[in-house]
């Protein structure tokens, strides 16, 4: 299968001006690639820079060196060099991200929170809502909660809403930051199935998972992030 994501010599250092300009090196020399239909799991100790790598791929963190090439939708974009507009376009067409926590918008019903990425991509609202409903049902969110905003839901429910939102689009590259962290065994299994389905459709997946069983079930390759950790 073709390569979807390619990181080369990626480095990141935070400079904290409010703390006297102290520099916090995070990672350096990050290099790995992921092919279509393949899942790469980032492994490493806490603080090794796993989430930072994911955020650099998504464009939330800027990287100081190297390249992050995404080959999708008939073109190649280097996220490390891309203009904001190109990154927005890439996110709309090719790049999905399930964050660790749901950033809930006040007043928006759960079903619309989940449907929103499709609506933004131009899918008709009723159709998007039906897709959202399917996913919410699979993830065991009771139907009586769908019209409610998720802000008051439990941690696990919010995470499942977040997963539904992240999985609703069919994008070539999907980034998962601890998608199963606060889920019970039954829901973890659902997420494993959802990831497997994405892979079968040719989606390349980069994931951070701490649960050994989930990792074993979804990983095709494991990237040891410890070797990229930058020395302070």
């Amino acid at each position: 299968m073709s390569t979807v994501l390619e990181l080369t010599a990626v480095a990141k250092t935070f400079t904290m001006y409010l703390q006297g300009g102290v520099r916090l090196p995070v990672v350096r020399g990050v290099a790995f690639a992921v092919r279509a239909g393949e899942c790469a799991v980032l492994a490493g100790r806490s603080g090794a820079g796993k989430s930072s790598i994911l955020k650099m791929i998504f464009g939330t963190y800027r990287c100081d060196a190297g390249s992050i090439r995404v080959h999708a939708d008939g073109r190649t974009v280097d996220v490390a060099q891309a203009q904001p507009r190109q990154i927005l376009l890439l996110r709309a067409r090719a790049l999905g991200y399930v964050s660790q926590f749901l950033r809930a918008v006040p007043r928006v019903p759960t079903v619309d929170v989940v449907a929103e990425p499709l609506v933004i991509a131009g899918v008709e609202r009723d159709h998007a809502r039906r897709r959202a409903a399917d996913l919410l049902r699979r993830l065991n969110i009771p139907e009586r909660l769908w019209p409610l905003p998720p802000a008051t839901f439990s941690g696990g429910e919010q995470q499942r809403v977040n997963i539904a939102r992240g999985f609703i689009s069919d994008l070539p590259l999907l980034l998962l930051d601890e998608p199963t962290a606060s889920l019970d065994a039954g829901n973890r299994a659902v997420v494993v199935d959802l990831v497997a389905a994405k892979k079968r459709c040719g989606t390349a997946v980069v994931a951070i998972v701490h649960d050994d069983d989930v990792r074993a079930a979804i990983a095709d390759t494991v990237v040891d992030v410890n070797r990229f950790t930058a020395a302070a």
């Binding site: 409010l18 963190y61 800027r62 904001p84 507009r85 991509a121």
Partner: protein
């Protein structure tokens, strides 16, 4: 939302500077705004945000630099070259301007329906029934009870006034809306409702917007990109999540870290 990357910008600011005598308003501000794109301009009071908004919307003449705008016919024009009538036409049709104080953007003594209908009459609508019907639709869209259509906005609450101002601005289907602290001065619960409403309308109508705000939560919720201003100059720009989650400039780090988490 951004549809294509090939399309041309709606508005381009080139080296915009403004001095009030010796006092600097803003200096060397350049950026491009694309159709459907929302840019938040953030910074503390006195950083030049409102000056910039007035320059962009041709309410102030720049001391240096220019603003180019892509008209509905596809022609790009320098705002300074527009005649008064052309500028007024832009204001009535293609642009909206939402003031922090709704009293500045509304006629407080005439009915809500007339406030919205007036914009339609200004672009040539004459059929009373149709104007009233469209005004009613828009009041519903901004969640104002249809029973209040004949009441004047001075009888409205602050949040309702702001929603009415938004309806009045959007009824002519503008392509670009300028907003100056649209949620400033409102209770938090009222803010949330307004933000959610604005967010929906901006996405649904594919509006481009320049939103001046000192509230980073507003910027995060509504904007695609952020421009950070300090002492009249741009100190940092980028994607909204980039600027807020990985700020590179000392001033932006100060702004981001000064927000108390709820």
């Amino acid at each position: 939302m951004i549809e294509r990357d090939e399309d041309q910008p709606l508005l381009v600011a080139e080296g915009l500077s403004k001095w009030y005598g010796k006092q600097l308003g803003c200096r060397e501000v350049s950026f491009a705004l694309y159709p459907g794109e929302v840019i938040a301009v953030v910074g503390e009071s006195g950083s030049g945000k409102t000056t910039l908004l007035q320059l962009l919307s041709a309410q102030l003449a720049p001391s240096r630099g220019r603003v180019r705008y892509c008209m509905r016919d596809g022609a790009t024009r320098d705002l300074a070259s527009l005649g008064e009538a052309e500028r007024r036409f832009l204001f009535r049709t293609d642009w909206g301007y939402v003031h922090q104080d709704p009293a500045l953007g509304l006629r407080m003594a005439v009915s809500a329906g007339a406030n919205v209908g007036e914009r339609l009459m200004a672009i040539g609508w004459r059929h009373y029934g149709r104007i009233r019907e469209t005004a009613g639709d828009w009041l519903a869209r901004v969640e104002i009870d249809s029973g209040r259509i004949d009441d004047a906005p001075y009888t409205y609450s602050g949040g309702m006034r702001q929603r009415l101002q938004i309806a009045r601005n959007l009824v002519t289907r503008p392509r670009l809306v300028f907003m100056d602290e649209p949620t400033g001065g409102l209770d938090v619960s009222v803010q949330a409702r307004l933000l959610d409403l604005l967010r929906g309308l901006v996405a649904e109508l594919a509006l481009a917007a320049v939103i001046v705000t000192h509230d980073l939560a507003v910027a995060r919720l509504l904007s695609h990109r952020i421009i950070v201003m300090k002492d009249g100059e741009i100190v940092e720009t980028g994607l909204t999540d980039q600027v807020l989650d990985d700020p590179h400039q000392p001033y932006t780090q100060l702004l981001v870290s000064s927000v108390l988490p709820p």
